[in-house]
């Protein structure tokens, strides 16, 4: 194969591609990959035609529902999901940002009740292009530069 990747191929599972390099670890956090028993390989600062440099994650024997994986669109809006079976890409998907984000991101407002008590945060996405999300509780807006994973 001419276009060989620097991360070894998997037989069955999911490849998450086109992740911006600086958010690789946020994606790992959002998907809670540290709790997975599966074999996971990832690469960062790989060459990419689209992004210049990119990150990639390969998770063996694991497949994702849209609901589970769409959350990463918050930090990696152009990420692509390839479903692999027997070394073949059998499905390609793009992530789509959900209308509501529950329990992943901290509210940037230090005076918000969600930063004082153990409450799952809830945000409504009010701008998809440059992410802006409105806190269901304090009604303040957290933007993409202020996103911190809970």
């Amino acid at each position: 194969m001419q276009k060989q990747l620097n991360v070894s191929a998997i037989k069955d599972g999911t490849v998450i591609d086109h992740i911006p390099t600086k958010v690789l670890f946020k994606v790992i956090q959002i998907l809670k990959l540290e709790d997975f028993p599966n074999t996971i390989t990832f690469g960062n600062n790989l060459d990419s035609k689209v992004l210049g440099k990119k990150a990639i994650i390969k998770i063996a024997n694991r497949y994702f529902e849209d609901e589970e994986v769409n959350k990463i669109a918050l930090v990696a809006p152009n990420a692509k999901l390839n479903t692999i079976r027997n070394y073949e890409v059998v499905e390609k998907r793009v992530v789509k940002i959900p209308e509501e984000i529950v329990g992943i991101v901290r509210c940037f407002n230090p005076k918000c009740i969600t930063n004082a008590e153990n409450i799952p945060t809830r945000f409504q996405i009010i701008n998809e292009k440059s992410i802006e999300m409105k806190c269901h509780y304090c009604e303040k807006i957290t933007n993409e530069n202020e996103i911190r994973i809970k």
């Binding site: 005076k111 918000c112 009740i113 969600t114 008590e117 509780y137 304090c138 303040k140």
Partner: protein, 303 residues
């Protein structure tokens, strides 16, 4: 049956605003009631606000209800580290309705989710204070006989003032309002509210001072320009006298014009305005009792 709460002014529809107006008038004419007989209302003030608490407690007493609660968190279990969740769970077992004020933003929305009984937000930090807005609406309704076609001057701190933001949202539900924003650049109305008005096709104008245009106003809503809001103290010194309303300025104003203020006032309305019949801020505060009677009755489906 679905439990009703009042957390943000936008929780109520225009129809509900009008119902609250009608009920407020009814309670003003018939202030002594027994609608809350046998009912217990909790007033939980996690931070002190004597003015708001007395207004709510007067409303409850006028409706014939009993009050439990605390007036600041030092005298409650909160100071022993109890979570808001647990306090609300406990109190919602005791009371038929909870009125709460809390320094953290979003606390009232969260309490409403935890509570089995209706919750009224009496202020959550800098976020919302919807009963203030409803009493402002009632004051406009009473003095102008309508809520449509009102030329409303909002003066002072339009950046941080939550009362002016909520009033703007509420008044934009009515026909053909005109907003005049009078503020220093540092405290100008935030873009999100101006964008909201443009999207709704509502007219607004921005001014740095208001001496020359004051005669257009139906309502002048004054707020305080606080020194702490300015990064540069020199800027504050420059503008501090621009946003003070004095009796001399009122000579050419419309006969129906009235001056509102959420109180407490510091110096933004000169005391020589107080005896002018156009000064309405003390009556406005009294209106709060009737409006709060209306809100409680509405949420408990008593009227």
């Amino acid at each position: 049956m679905n439990k009703k709460n009042l957390i943000s002014i936008t929780d109520f529809s225009k129809e509900e605003y009008l119902k609250i107006m009608e009920l407020s008038r009814y309670f003003e004419e018939n202030p002594n009631q027994s609608l809350l007989k046998g009912k217990v209302i909790a007033t939980l003030f996690f931070e002190p606000s004597t003015r708001t608490r007395l207004s709510f407690e007067t409303a409850i007493s006028r409706l014939g209800g009993k009050i439990i609660g605390f007036s600041d968190s030092n005298s409650s279990s909160v100071s022993k580290g109890e979570t808001l969740h647990d306090t609300i769970k406990m109190v919602s077992n005791y009371a038929d309705l909870i009125i709460m004020r809390h320094p953290l933003e979003g606390s009232a929305r969260y309490a409403a989710e935890v509570s089995d009984v209706p919750v009224i937000n009496a202020g959550d930090g800098a976020n919302q204070h919807p009963s203030q807005t409803l009493l402002d609406l009632y004051s406009i309704m009473k003095t102008q006989g309508k809520l449509d076609n009102i030329n409303l001057f909002l003066v002072g701190d339009l950046k941080y003032g939550r009362t002016v933001h909520s009033l703007l949202m509420a008044m934009s539900q009515f026909e053909n309002p005109i907003f005049n924003f009078v503020a220093p650049p540092e405290l100008a109305m935030p873009d999100e509210y101006k964008l909201f008005l443009r999207q709704k096709g509502i007219r607004y104008f921005e001014h740095l001072e208001f001496n020359d245009i004051i005669n257009q106003a139906d309502i002048i809503y004054m707020t305080r320009v606080q020194k702490e809001r300015f990064i540069d103290p020199v800027e504050y010194e420059k503008v501090k006298n621009v946003y003070i309303l004095k009796n001399e300025m009122l000579a050419q104003t419309k006969p129906n014009m009235r001056i509102l203020h959420p109180l407490p006032r510091i110096n933004e309305i000169h005391t020589n305005v107080d005896s002018n019949p156009k000064a309405y801020y003390f009556t406005q505060a009294l209106n709060g009792v009737y409006t709060r009677m209306a809100i409680i009755s509405h949420l408990l489906n008593l009227k």
